[in-house]
């Protein structure tokens, strides 16, 4: 009955994999943005020092992301840290689950929003945060709340939080950088027309087109990367969360409730959506959104939990 322990081989594999994937993300980030900067430096014939400076900046930014991405996400979400005295039922359940999983106690936060949802962030179990919305605390039964928290604790235990947090901040910045690059291209093409007319050639036009293409593709690639890393993870966290709280049915009915709730979560955006237990961006059910969805279909998750 107690066979599948939190420290079993499976979870160690998962942790190692997540650590590898975080490094792959950083590598992908530097290659993507480095390539983007390189293309623009080349197209506009800027001095190489610009490129070197940009790459140094990228490396520093990657380091900053590794150390502080969780704080960025918490600040952006607008969550407030709570103590056990303030939120007894919530915090004591997190304590219980951490005892069950043999983890240190994460910091606990509440997001004042009536839409029920939850996420976890951080670097490792020693630097972890659990965030729930006010709506989650109000609308779920105690057993359902415990099951949702078990799902989040599982994300912490197997280092999903590291990959997902880093992905949120890195992908967000790639999209931003590509956006800036595109604006700069169109604004710059007006200003520098005379300059380019003098030594313009078909080669440079091609280079510029390539740079623009890179700027368009970079955020797309980054997004696809993000979807790839987060969909499978939700199934895993559902399974290990259900195992931890010994109550897959409570998790299934919690997911049902969260998905059925009509209220949108104001604090969520495209960069952080994949962190949440259920996709907080609602009302955009289209083919494209489904294709790029950061979450597996909720019906499938519920079906799997009910069959446990």
């Amino acid at each position: 009955m107690d066979a599948a322990a939190p420290g079993s081989i499976l979870i160690y594999d998962q942790i190692a994999k997540n650590k590898r994937e975080t490094w792959a993300l950083f590598a992908g980030f530097v290659l993507l943005l480095g390539g983007l900067v390189g293309a623009f430096v080349y197209a506009f014939q800027a001095p190489p020092v610009v490129f070197i400076g940009a790459m140094t900046g990228l490396a520093l930014y990657a380091l900053f992301t590794y150390l502080a991405a969780d704080r960025v996400i918490l600040a952006v979400s607008g969550a407030r840290e709570v103590t056990k005295e303030e939120e007894w039922e919530y915090v004591r359940r997190v304590e219980n689950l951490c005892i069950g999983a043999g983890l240190p106690m994460p910091r606990t936060w509440v997001l004042e929003d009536t839409a029920p949802n939850a996420f976890a962030t951080g670097r490792d179990p020693q630097h972890a945060h659990v965030v729930v919305t006010r709506g989650l605390l109000q609308k779920l039964t105690p057993a359902e709340l415990e099951a949702v928290l078990a799902h989040e604790i599982s994300h912490i235990a197997n280092y999903d939080i590291r990959v997902m947090t880093v992905a949120a901040v890195l992908v967000g910045v790639v999209a931003l950088a590509a956006d800036v690059a595109l604006r700069w291209t169109f604004a710059g093409s007006g200003r520098r027309r005379s300059n380019r007319d003098r030594n313009a050639g078909p080669a440079q036009a091609v280079l510029l087109a390539l740079a623009v293409l890179a700027a368009i593709l970079a955020p797309l690639v980054a997004q696809i990367l993000k979807f790839a890393i987060s969909r499978r993870r939700e199934f895993l966290a559902d399974a290990s969360g259900a195992l931890l709280c010994r109550n897959p049915y409570a998790l299934a009915s919690a997911l049902e409730k969260i998905a059925a709730d009509p209220e949108p979560l104001e604090a969520a955006n495209k960069a952080t959506a994949h962190l949440y237990i259920v996709n907080p961006l609602k009302g955009h059910e289209s083919f494209l959104n489904n294709l790029f969805s950061t979450h597996p279909p909720i019906d499938e998750r519920i079906r799997i939990l009910r069959s446990m």
């Binding site: 322990a5 004591r92 219980n96 005892i99 999983a101 043999g102 039964t141 105690p142 010994r246 109550n247």
Partner: protein, 189 residues
């Protein structure tokens, strides 16, 4: 010359064997350490639970002093818990305490003033919390015991375990009834 080679081969085999034993030993020792760490999580909660009892007994006495038998049972179970050695004894004592508390809380139903007492409510809440925490600590502890005991009985680590006299650890068994109670209280609180 050939004796030298044979000697080297023998020495090499011995070195490999020693390294292998060291590795196995460390694996076992680490698993045993994890069991001890997991045990301390249970122990903390058992102590916390025991420390709540005198206060609870005093509070109940203030309203229902003549329910002596029920109160004595609780006090006795607590004393048992305090002197328990090892996982099995502690589990038995804790189960006895759970039983005693259950009858106490059943009796308390007849005293509305006591039920409304702030101090009593606070204690009841704390006791429920420790009970839930013990259930989770037990889950983690038993998982670690299972892994450690498995190493002791399975080949090849069983050879090293026998050599260094690693003893299997005791499971922390919640009685079936008590376990059910914990599950119910998950959804009821």
């Amino acid at each position: 010359m050939s004796t030298l080679i044979i000697l080297l081969v023998i020495v090499g085999v011995i070195v490999l064997l020693v390294l292998w034993v060291v590795g196995m030993y460390n694996g076992l020792a680490r698993a045993r350490l994890r069991v001890q760490e997991a045990w301390s999580a249970i122990d903390i909660q058992l102590r916390r639970r025991a420390s709540l009892i005198p206060n609870l007994v005093e509070t109940v006495k203030g309203y229902a002093a003549h329910e002596r038998e029920v109160l004595e049972n609780v006090t006795r179970a607590r004393a048992m818990l305090e002197t328990a050695h090892g996982a099995r004894e502690a589990a038995q004592a804790d189960n006895a305490l759970t039983q005693a508390l259950r009858s106490l809380f059943a009796v308390v139903e007849n005293y509305p003033d006591l039920k409304a007492n702030q101090n009593f409510l606070e204690l009841q809440r704390e006791l429920t919390d420790t009970e839930d925490k013990i259930a989770y600590a037990r889950q983690f502890y038993n998982a670690n015991v299972q892994r450690y005991n498995e190493k002791i009985v399975t080949v090849p680590s069983s050879f090293v375990a026998a050599l260094f006299r690693f003893q299997p650890a005791e499971f922390y068994e919640a009685e079936e009834e008590a376990r059910q109670e914990v599950r119910v209280s998950f959804s009821a609180t």
